[in-house]
Structures are given as structure tokens and as C-alpha cells.
Amino acid sequence: MLLAGVAAAAQSVAHSPVIELQNGAFRVNGWAAPRSEPRGGWGALFLVYAGAGKVPPLVGAYAVESGALVFHPRYPITAGVHYHAVFRMPSGATIANDFDGPARATNPLARVEQVYPTAAVLPSNLLRLYIVFSSPMSQGEAASHIHVEDDKGKVLPDELLPGQELWDPLFRRLTMTFDPGRIKRGLTSNQTIGPAITEGRHYRLVIDRDWPDARGVPMVQGFARSFVGGPADRTPPDTAQWRVTAPASGTTKALVVDFPGPMNYSLLLRMIQVTRGQAKVAGRISLERHEAEWLFTPDTPWQTGDYQLAIDTGIEDLAGNHIGTAFDIDIFEKVSKTIERKSLAIPFTIR
């Protein structure tokens, strides 16, 4: 026993241990780790730091693999991080080694693919904008990188609602809301500052190139689009004014629904369905005429007979009015017992 111990000690002197980074794990090579964890845990012997100053050690798990002590970080080796690994030998001497994660990416990839609504004239009570990017973006940057300018290029403050960025799960579509305080009638900001968009005025929406994508790299290029303020829209959408053009039987031509004006882009993709009897008809939705036209191309040819458009009454126009209810309603009196998620049906016939 004693001899073996001496032999092991001699060996560790002969080959001083070295800390290596192998396959994303920090490994103490050249030191025969005991099978069982020492008093105080492996952390009493071996710690990895990923920051300067008085910081907690990197979180992760220890293992003894092929006789070597290995630290597996909880999170993978990351670009832009400097790692400092320290091993304290039972003799009290310490050895250390430093490693760098890969360099941070610098190649721009992201651009703005589209901003909805796409129309050149937008109602003065426009509620929401949807900005679609080609790549996942960084959160928390919207307010610094989206600007609304007047016709002289002056940035208008307080146009968009502060805080709370609303992303899709892929961080490719951001929903921005104009300050509803400036849209709703009777609110202080509407009375004192005026609406966010004034009818007849020219504006420019500007998105800065230096908005970092999810990797922290600025976009390929910025984005700008001009628009003109139109009249406020306080009329809830009315399906009686929608024009449905049914294609011929046996074709896969698009069913076309025309609205009197542009509708909310994201809800058009979700809140209108084509049904036949109880079954949903499979197909593809596209939008034309600046979101004032909804097209549905079926996967299989239309058959002669009766179909329906099933419309969720929550569908909104550009000002947040939805079927049956304006965005800011005049006195709320009718209290219904349940929250209704109504749907309306527009029948059409394929001949």
C-alpha cells in the first residue's frame, strides 16, 4: 500500500499534471484521480473560471474518466469567453491553464425582409407593425434601433410603445405597437401630445443597420420606408363588405377575398380558414394588394359544392378594430356571461 502510494507520488512528480480542454471538457491529465470524491468535493481541487475578478466558478459536473478528473461545463464552450482552469494538487501546489473560446462571429447575415403593413398610406390610429427579419435577432434592442422620422428627418420620440418586445419563437418577427395612449380617444397623451400619426403628414420608418442579430453581429443593411398618415379608422371590420370570388371546380386556382382596406397581416394568416362541412380544407394562404386581398390556393382541386370561410371575430384591421368592436369602444355596458370566441361563416359555392 505504502509502496504504491510512493510510486504514485513519484509518478506525479515525474509527469507534472496538465489541464487540457478536450471535446468541450476540462481534463486534468497526468494525475491519477481517486475513485471517490474527496472531502469538500471535486470543486475543492479543480475549478474553472470564465470571468475576471471575484466571480463564481463555472457551473458544471465532475467525472473521473479513464482515471482522469474531468469537468464538463453545464453550457458549451462559448465564443468570446476566456477560461481559466485551476487545479490544486493534494500536495498544495496549484497548476493552471488558460483557454479561449472560438472568436465571435463577425459576418453580417441579417436583413429586414418586410415590414407590415406594407401600404403607403396608413391610418392615423395604426396600432401595430410587424418587422420580419431574415435571421434571428437579439432581444432588447428594438427601441434603440427603430425610429419614426418626420418629413424633415427629425426623429419623433414616443411614437412606439415602450418596453416589452414581442418576438415570435424564432426571434425573426418582432411586433411593435404604437403608443395606444396616443391612439385612444380621451386619454391624456392623445389630448396633449396628439396622435402618433397625423393625417396628411409624411413619415419615414427607419431601422438601423447596427441592430445586432442573435450572434451579436450587425445587419447587412438598414431599412427605411416612407408612409403618409391617413384618416383614423374607427369602424370595425364588417364581413358584409368582403367580396368573395370563388374559382371554378376542378382547378387549384386561388379563392380570393377582397376587403375594403388592409387588414392585420399576422391575423390574416391564422383567423380565416376554408371549410367544407366540418373539415378544414388544406391549402396555402397568400396576401396581395397591401394586405387588402386574401388568397387561398387549395392543395387539391376544388370540388363542386358548398364551402365556407370560417372567420374568427378577433380578426383586426390596422387600427386594432375587430369584428363587432372598435379598438376603443364607447361605454362598455353589455357584460356577457362568458368570454365568447365567436366565429362567423361566409358560405360560397364552387361551380
Binding site: P57, Q164, W167, G320
Partner: protein
């Protein structure tokens, strides 16, 4: 000498506190952690936080469309008054999880009312692949990562079942959970949709039952004058007004609205009343109700206005604001700006007379939404003003 009335008041306050405690216990006869099961909790994101009884931490997962209840197993009261001060907290968290400090986003902060340890929900990264973290800062200032690999938890989904067609594009809908509070046996969850404007407040019975997502409530409030709106709640606190339980909610367009808890029933449409307006071009972040010198206050943290100390006595006497004020920010409950603490990004109650704040120099954006903070995030204990 000083002992006389002051001592009696203190004793009365103690009685009042224990009465509240008894009520809270009566709501949950068994320990809430008994309802939780051990396992690996998988979150897609960690956002709004709220503490319930027995050291149970509720975590809102906006990207996962769910809420989790976690047993923090952290029930020991601190020895003496807690005071937590940690400079450069973002750098410490970043080092702990191996990421540059600019990739740390703190989403919410709450104090465990039992242990007074501070809990933060954090994103490791800023894109869709960001990993959610629950970080604990104990009363000695030690920073640790609450491992979710083997915890007692329960989870409830807030969303409809995913699309049956697996080939369908990923559903772009999300409901961002803006705030949560545990109110007498229910978790109230305020959310904001990235598609529809209208959003509901959800009331989920605790302990969570199966996949029961709770009742949704539509809250309408008088905006000023005759127009009424249904808007997403940004932040809210439970509040007692004239012996009745209310929720005080701050909306995205900055009015403070009182809503009777008794109205918050399944399937209800609820009408709230605007009793204050903190002004335009500002975002309320957190609210902490407290008592000082026998008077009630609410400390409100804001993006543009900083800390506001709002007088909150006799809220039953405030009429519904029914006409726009000429001078924005002076309507309803009076308030004063607290200038001794600046750049507050998170605010949470520590005890009856102290709060913790997370401060950081604001980013380059406009005052109401300055963007990611520049420079270190510092955790400080402040005396409630």
C-alpha cells in the same frame, strides 16, 4: 417613553401580520410543495417570477407557453435584517454560465419572503437559443444557479395544443407573460400577445391541477372620458382597499387601475377603474406596496420616470378619472419622484421597510425604452422612501 403608543402600534401591527399569515395558511392547509413532483424541469424561457407559500417560486415561460411552480427548498429565515448588495452582478452571472457579460439579460427579480434570498430570471444569450436560468443571490451576496435538473415542480400550459400538422410552419404566436402574482390560492398571470391586441388575465388555481390552464378574464377599464378599452396588463399587485381585496394594475399606456378580486371569476368580463395616470412616454416596471409612518404607499419603478412614490391611502375615495388632464402625470393618486436612486431596472420588496433594486446605466435608446443597459448591473438594498 417611546414605548407607549408606538409599542402598541407595533404590537397591533404584529397581530395584523399574524392574522394575514393565518389567512394565508387557511388557503393552503397542506404544504404547497407536497403537490410538486421531483424531476427535470425544462423551460424554454424564464420571465416573470412570483413567490407563493412555502418557498414555491412561479416562473413564467413565455416561449414555452407555460408556468412552472418550483420548490426552491429555501425556507430558512435569515439571522437578523437582510441587506444584499452585489456590484457587477451581470459579470458574476456571466462568469458562472460561461458567456460574455453583454449576453446576460435579467428578465425579472423577486425576493423569497421566507429566506429573503433574491431570485432572478435570466437569459443566457439574446436570441432564440438563449438558455433560461434561475439565479439565486443569498443574503451574504453569494451568487448561484438554481439547477432545474432535479427539482420538485409542477407545470401548467397556457396555450392551445400545437398544430396537428407537423409539417406546418412553426406557430409564430407567443404570449409574453408580463407579470404574475399569487393571490389567495390562485396565480394571476397577465399576458400580452404578439398578434392580437386583446389579452386576458388568467387565474390559475394553485396547486396546479392536471393541465387546467385556469380561467381567462377580460379586463376593461375606463380610459379617460367615455371610451373604454381592453388592454394588456403590464404589472400589477394585490392590494386591500377598504377591507376588500383588489388588484392594482398598471397598463401599457400607464394608467393605474383598481380591479376587485371578487370580480375575477371564470369567464368574466371585468371592469376596472382608472384612479391614477403616471403619464405618457413611460413604461411601469414593478410595483412595491408598503406602509411608512402609518401611511400607505406604492413604490413604482419606471423606465422614463424612475422611482415614483405614490400615495396609496384610501384608494376607495379616488373617483374614476373621467376627463383628460391638461398636465400629463398629475391625475389621481399624488406621487413624488425619488431621485436618490437612479437607473432602476428591477424592483422587489425585501421586507416591510426595505426593497432591493437592480440598477444599471441605461442604454442609448430613448428614455422610455433605453435598450440593453451599458455597464455593470448592481444589486442594492434600499430603505423604502
Amino acid at each position: 417613553m417611546i414605548k407607549g403608543p408606538a409599542f402598541r402600534r407595533a404590537a397591533l401591527a404584529a397581530v395584523a401580520v399574524s392574522a394575514v399569515a393565518i389567512l394565508a395558511i387557511a388557503d393552503n392547509p397542506s404544504n404547497l410543495t407536497d403537490s410538486l413532483k421531483a424531476g427535470k424541469l425544462q423551460l424554454k424561457s424564464a420571465g416573470a417570477l412570483a413567490f407563493g407559500p412555502d418557498g414555491v417560486l412561479f416562473v413564467g415561460d413565455s416561449l414555452g407557453g407555460s408556468v412552472a411552480a418550483i420548490d426552491t427548498n429555501d425556507h430558512t429565515a435569515p439571522k437578523g435584517a437582510a441587506s444584499i448588495n452585489v456590484d457587477g452582478l451581470d459579470a458574476k452571472i456571466a462568469a458562472m454560465v460561461g458567456v460574455p457579460a453583454d449576453q446576460i439579460v435579467v428578465n425579472d427579480m423577486k425576493v423569497n419572503p421566507l429566506s429573503k434570498n433574491v431570485y432572478l430570471s435570466v437569459s443566457r444569450g439574446k436570441g432564440p437559443d438563449a438558455q433560461p436560468l434561475i439565479v439565486k443571490v443569498d443574503t451574504s451576496g453569494a451568487v448561484s444557479n438554481l439547477s432545474l435538473d432535479n427539482v420538485k415542480f409542477a407545470q401548467v400550459s397556457l396555450v392551445d395544443a400545437p398544430a396537428a400538422n407537423p409539417a406546418a410552419r412553426q406557430d409564430p404566436r407567443t404570449t409574453t407573460i408580463t407579470d404574475m402574482n399569487y393571490v389567495s390560492g390562485n396565480l394571476l398571470v397577465a399576458g400580452m400577445s404578439n398578434e392580437e391586441w386583446n389579452s386576458a388575465l388568467r387565474s390559475i388555481p394553485v396547486p396546479f391541477k392536471n393541465a387546467e390552464p385556469g380561467a381567462t378574464l377580460q379586463i376593461w377599464h375606463d380610459s379617460h372620458g367615455r371610451y373604454e378599452t381592453q388592454s394588456p396588463v403590464r404589472t400589477f399587485v394585490p392590494y386591500t382597499i377598504a377591507g376588500q381585496a383588489y388588484v392594482l394594475a398598471a397598463y401599457t399606456c400607464t394608467p393605474l387601475v383598481r380591479i376587485p378580486v371578487s370580480d375575477l371569476k371564470a369567464g368574466a368580463k371585468v371592469k376596472g377603474q382608472t384612479i391614477a395616470d403616471l403619464g405618457a412616454g413611460n413604461q411601469p416596471l414593478d410595483m412595491v406596496p408598503y406602509k411608512k409612518g402609518g401611511k400607505d404607499y406604492i413604490l413604482v419603478a419606471n423606465t422614463a420616470f424612475g422611482l415614483l412614490k405614490v400615495q396609496a391611502d384610501h384608494l376607495e375615495t379616488y373617483p374614476t378619472i373621467d376627463s383628460p388632464t391638461k398636465n400629463p402625470g398629475t391625475a389621481g393618486m399624488p406621487f413624488e419622484k425619488i431621485t436618490s436612486v437612479a437607473n432602476v431596472k428591477q424592483l422587489a420588496q425585501l421586507d416591510l421597510s426595505n426593497a432591493v433594486v437592480l440598477t444599471a446605466t441605461s442604454g442609448p435608446g430613448p428614455a422610455y425604452a433605453p435598450g440593453p443597459p451599458v455597464g455593470p448591473m448592481n444589486l442594492k438594498t434600499i430603505v423604502l422612501p
